[in-house]
Amino acid sequence: MPLHVSRQGDVVIVEIEGQLIVSNRQELKQRVLDEAETGGRKILVDFSRTGYIDSAGLGVLVSLAKRLRELGGDIRLANLNDDLQTLFELTKLDTLFQIADSKERALETF
């Protein structure tokens, strides 16, 4: 799961390529927490190149959202395909996250 990290203003954009699952979720968690430690507390996760996400991957997103909000930041999700959107709706996590259909729209919501 390569992670591509970039910045736009004070927002850290993390693009996940491939699957976000139990075997690699810690990589995402650590990278985002590292960014948060150095002040990057507005995180946009871009799923445009993500395949599938399992329960552990969803759990990491929940955990990161809580931590970032505790730190005064937040997380936004963008570019979920229909399958991933279904996954968030099934688990009702679409009520916990702000989900945008593009990076640009997600950036506007910070």
Partner: protein, 143 residues
């Protein structure tokens, strides 16, 4: 043709092997009239959950222990059995509803829920070890 309708895999109990197993099973099902969502979401996620449970809980991530996977394509479904060396578990008792207000912000507790939501049938029984069996029917082959 029988060989093309079955697949047997054995992996050490290490999480890094999950993606490869899932890719092999999805590849075997491709071209057998499953729809795109079944191959991109339902089967990969449900199988990932079953493998993750087998590796982490069943076998305690002991790489000396194997997880055994058997895939069978029938006329109307794919049946995937994931077997570990654990003591098994009560599927109903262990399945939580992660969508309730008290659970929604929990990091864990979504695995069995997703498995059961994404395939048509989930069974758990004793074979040589503990077996979780997933059945995913092709479109138009409802039980």
């Amino acid at each position: 043709m029988a060989g093309l309708r079955t697949l047997d895999l054995r992996i050490p109990s290490e999480l890094q092997h999950i993606e490869g197993v899932v890719a092999a099973v999805v590849h075997r099902c491709a071209g057998h009239a499953f729809d795109d969502r079944q191959l991109a979401l339902n089967l990969p996620v449900a199988l990932t959950e079953a493998l993750s449970n087998a590796i982490l809980r069943g076998n305690g991530e002991d790489s000396a222990k194997e997880v055994r996977v058997r895939v069978e394509l029938t006329d109307d479904a794919v049946i995937v059995e994931v077997e570990d060396d654990g003591q098994g578990f009560d599927l109903d008792a262990c399945t939580e509803d992660p969508t309730t207000p008290e659970n929604i912000e929990r990091e864990d507790g979504r695995g069995l829920f997703l498995m059961r939501a994404l395939v048509d049938r989930v069974e758990n029984f004793r074979g040589a070890g503990n077996v979780v069996r997933l059945t995913l029917r092709r479109p138009g082959h409802a039980a």
